[in-house]
């Protein structure tokens, strides 16, 4: 057996074992760790395929970013009660049967399929980039746009609702004590500049009326 075969079966075994652990683990933190093992093994398979850029991206995006994101959500959310994230036994058997049947059909078909495999040197990161930045440059830009929109959407979805909202349930004309509107603030700042800042830093200088709102307690 050549080393390629040994490496392929090792990584494939790790990937499948990690995937099974992800599906069957009873605690979610174990499932996430299994997912990490699977993603790592898939990155190794990309290396075996000869596309080292893809392996690096797999480690960065999946192994790094997505795993850490899932871990953060696991930390931030309440844990489900033990054993509550499983469907009924009958559903599990049915789903397992359907998936096994589907895999059987796929494996038989793929095992007998004969693809027209072309011989040739495998591509490297330079040829990847030459296509990505010439033929696929428009999809590349749109992908950046998609990521930006997804980022904005995630922030809008996940932020606390009352952090940035103005208190809109107050009646018209009502004032929150100690605050002023933007126009009043500008007027107060202008008064301060005209009347007080010109007087220098006299230690006993009393603020002139109109520069500090009365509700804030400055002009008592």
């Amino acid at each position: 057996m050549s080393s390629d075969v040994v490496m392929f079966y090792t990584y494939a075994l790790v990937a499948v074992a990690g995937a099974l652990g992800l599906v069957l683990a009873s605690r979610l933190i174990h499932a996430v760790m299994s997912l990490f093992a699977t993603l790592f093994a898939i990155a190794a398979l990309y290396l075996l395929l000869g596309s080292e850029f893809l392996a690096a991206m797999q480690l960065f995006v999946y192994g790094g970013a997505i795993t850490v994101l899932v871990l953060f959500v696991l930390i931030l959310t309440r844990p489900a009660p033990e054993g509550a994230d499983r469907t009924r036994k009958g559903t599990m058997w049915t789903a397992g049967g359907v998936c096994a049947l589907f895999f059987g059909v796929l494996a038989i078909t793929l095992g007998r399929a004969d693809f027209r495999v072309a011989a040739g040197q495998s591509h490297d990161a330079a040829s990847l980039a030459s296509i990505l930045f010439s033929r696929y440059v428009l999809p590349f830009e749109i992908a950046g746009l998609v990521l930006t929109i997804a980022l904005i959407g995630a922030i809008v979805l996940a932020r606390e609702d009352d952090v940035l909202d103005t208190p809109s349930d107050l009646p018209e004309g009502a004032r929150v004590p100690g605050t002023m509107t933007l126009g009043e603030a500008a007027a107060a700042a202008a008064t301060y500049v005209k009347e007080e800042a010109a007087e220098g830093l006299a230690p006993d200088a009393a603020p002139s009326p109109g520069s500090v709102p009365a509700e804030a307690g400055g002009a008592e």
Binding site: I66, L74, A84, F103, S122
Partner: protein, 102 residues
């Protein structure tokens, strides 16, 4: 000798395991990461086809990169939704989330 069929069968296996996870788990977080597993299986297929069938042009590998972008966006949005659901309600099982039923 490792052929294209080896990679395709491995990807089919990962796909079916991920599908099983999506079908059987009620925790929304586990559903999201099982969908990630399914997407990874598709990525393996694309990369293997690209390397074995058209080795001179890295078209399939480019598709894998775009799929990674879409997967990252999808995970970000799904997890933001999950955090919002967790904050606004006590529901942890996805079959009881019926607020958006119209």
């Amino acid at each position: 000798m490792i052929t294209l069929n080896h990679y395709l069968i491995l990807a089919a296996m990962l796909f079916c395991i991920g599908l099983f996870g999506v079908l059987t788990s009620k925790s929304a977080l586990r559903v999201v990461i099982c969908v990630e597993l399914v997407l990874n299986a598709v990525n393996i297929n694309l990369a293997a086809f690209s390397v074995y069938v058209a080795p001179r042009e890295a078209v399939g590998v480019n598709f894998v990169i775009f799929l990674m972008v879409v997967a990252a966006a999808e995970v970000g949005l799904a997890l933001a939704l999950l955090i919002t659901l967790n904050r606004t309600s006590d529901i942890s099982a996805i079959d009881r989330i019926t607020r958006m039923k119209g």
